[in-house]
């Protein structure tokens, strides 16, 4: 069966450009998570959706970061006016369960963003 897919897999942006990263979760998965993984680090939580509701966005590093999941399936992470410090791998994960953050997450392969 299809897993979590992310596109593009690689993105190079010039500083100041806007980017949009897409996540297609596993069909029927209620929860969706975005993480940022810097080189040599573990993933850091950015935001969490339960269906279309964004229940936690406390990890978004600045107001340049915006995420949406309008129909409760596909999600987009948008970064405005990219900066070099935004360079990282952005991981998306989905989970079948709702109501908490303690359930198995299935991760996509990530989008590697490089800001030049």
């Amino acid at each position: 069966g299809a897993g979590v897919s992310q596109s593009p897999r690689y993105k190079v942006a010039k500083r100041g450009q806007d980017v949009a990263l897409r996540c297609d979760p596993i069909s029927g998965h209620v929860s969706l998570f975005w993480y940022q993984q810097a080189l040599g680090q573990g993933p850091e939580f950015l935001t969490y959706f339960q269906n279309e509701a964004q229940l936690d966005k406390s990890g978004l590093p600045s107001d340049r970061f915006f995420a949406e999941r309008p129909e409760g399936s596909v999600s987009t992470l948008k970064i405005q006016r990219t900066q070099q410090e935004d360079s990282a791998v952005y991981l998306c994960a989905s989970s079948l369960a709702s109501g908490g953050l303690t359930y198995e997450q299935y991760f996509g392969p990530g989008t590697r963003l490089t800001v030049t």
Binding site: F33, G42, F45, T102, F107, G108, G110
Partner: protein, 108 residues
């Protein structure tokens, strides 16, 4: 702020040896997960432990959750080159917190 410290950061051992990696925190977690991540891929869940003192075995891998639910260990018996990868622990509290990982390299 909840933090998860993983040790060692790097480990390179010969095939057939045993090893243990650790995940420690001053915070209590409702559950703890271990993942393995290969280059260019997302993390893949290995196990979830939820009860203090719980021990789970997955073939040659043994996972233990501390009694106080603040720490965990992963023990690999007779390591094989296929075990090479980045091992991440993640604790679930108010949100999921990941450690920085242990990069394991098994030499054939």
């Amino acid at each position: 702020t909840q933090l998860l410290e993983q040790s060692p950061q790097f480990l390179s051992i010969q095939e057939g040896e045993n090893l243990t990696v650790y995940c420690n925190s001053s915070s209590v977690f409702s559950s703890l997960q271990w993942y393995r991540q290969e280059p260019g891929e997302g993390p893949v869940l290995l196990v979830t432990v939820v009860t203090g003192g719980e021990v789970k075995k997955l073939k040659r891998l043994t996972f233990q959750f501390g009694d106080a639910r603040k720490d965990s260990s992963l023990h690999i018996t007779a390591a094989q080159p296929g075990d090479t990868g980045l091992y991440l622990c993640a604790g679930a509290g108010d949100k999921i917190i990941f450690g920085k990982g242990t990069r394991l390299h098994i030499l054939p």
